[in-house]
């Protein structure tokens, strides 16, 4: 097996339930290409290797799926790290990715950085960038020496790598035999929405107390659908029972970094801003001209959202035709 580049960056790609590479893959490989030579690790078959090369992986290591949750992936990543000797290992900050990253760093005694919003390289090695205290500060950190494992926040990296020719190798993995949880049965939940998932969505439309009732919250969904956005909510809207708590954006809910964040009837309490102020563009509609959300909005509309949003939806629909 050929040698790996000295600046190799190992990238573990998640596999979606559908069997394809997870949406986070393009950004992970884009981030890796910015600091070295991306070497992807995929769990599955050669079809995934082709998909990974298409997204910019210079080399792809294909590991066969093992039995049990997480542990076989950690085994594969450990084997890949021993083979490639990467400068860094990038993992998605997904539920699966976080689990793998923690175990992996523990086993290899690597430094672990969670929820990075970017990576770069200086004279001495790889540097991770974090957005902390609800996005109010940025922190750069490095390891004193040795390898490091980084989980990268979904939606935070815009860079995309150029497609590469497929160079795939099978990865020989020695199962560690550590105890792992086993999935005994899976029942697919009925899909009631074609909207993107809140975490990692490129666009988010959120509603707050200003919507007034659960019925009128449908206006948020209407705008989300015309934009192809995920639906979120402020804590006030969740507490008022307009939507379930899984919609909550903010310090005690989901943190999002979308390209576009639209806040409807949300005042912009600090706890809410903590979960969304890293959005690239923020749009706010609120009838209170003094609402703090306007301090961070790129485009603010002081007005009645029940007037403005239907007009906006109609205008956007008209442009689509």
């Amino acid at each position: 097996m050929a040698d790996y580049a000295a600046d190799s960056v190992l990238v573990l790609l998640d596999t979606a339930v559908s069997g394809e590479l997870a949406k986070s893959s393009a950004a992970l490989l884009g981030a890796a290409a910015g600091i070295g030579t991306p070497v992807a690790v995929v769990i599955g078959d050669s079809a995934l290797a082709e998909a990974a090369a298409e997204l910019g992986a210079a080399r792809v290591l294909v590991a066969a799926p093992g039995d049990g949750l997480t542990v076989p992936v950690v085994d594969a990543l450990e084997a890949a790290a021993a083979l490639v000797r990467p400068d860094a290992v990038l993992v998605s900050h997904s539920v699966d990715g976080r689990d793998v990253a923690g175990r992996s760093a523990g086993r290899t005694k690597a430094r672990l950085w969670v929820d990075a919003v970017g990576v770069s390289r200086d004279d001495e090695g790889v540097v991770a960038h974090h957005s902390v205290y609800g996005g109010a500060f940025t922190v750069d950190s490095a390891a004193t020496f040795g390898p490091l494992v980084v989980t990268v926040r979904q939606g935070a990296v815009d860079a995309r790598a150029q497609a590469q020719p497929v160079v795939a190798d099978d990865l020989a993995v020695t199962a560690s035999g550590r105890r792992a949880a086993v999935v005994e049965s899976v029942t697919q939940a009925e899909v009631t929405s074609s909207r993107p998932e809140l975490r990692g969505a490129a666009k988010v439309v959120s509603g707050g107390r200003g919507l007034g009732s659960a019925d009128r919250f449908a206006l948020v969904e209407e705008l989300a659908d015309v934009l192809g956005a995920a639906v979120g909510a402020s804590r006030a809207a969740v507490d008022a029972g307009f939507v379930p708590s899984s919609f909550q954006v903010g310090q005690t809910g989901v943190s999002v970094s979308p390209q576009l964040y639209v806040a409807l009837g949300i005042s912009g309490a600090i706890q809410h801003k903590a979960g969304m102020q890293t959005a690239k563009t923020i749009v706010a509609i609120n009838k209170d001209a003094d609402a703090p959300i306007f301090e961070i909005a790129d485009f603010g509309v002081v007005g009645d959202l029940f007037q403005v949003v239907p007009q906006l939806v109609a205008a956007l629909q008209a442009r689509k035709q």
Partner: protein, 48 residues
């Protein structure tokens, strides 16, 4: 536990910066055409 500080790699913070406060952008008061103007803004920024 080893007392040798060089035995294990550590994470070190090499820079910290307060993010410049987000500059507030355009703020308009609805005069009946805010929805149209907002649609215009989204299209111009390739967000719609």
């Amino acid at each position: 536990m080893t007392a040798d500080a060089t035995a294990t790699a550590r994470s070190i913070m090499i820079a910290v910066a307060e993010k410049p406060p987000r500059a507030a952008g355009v703020k308009i008061v609805d005069e009946g055409d805010a929805g149209e103007k907002l649609a215009e803004f989204l299209v111009q920024n390739r967000l719609a």
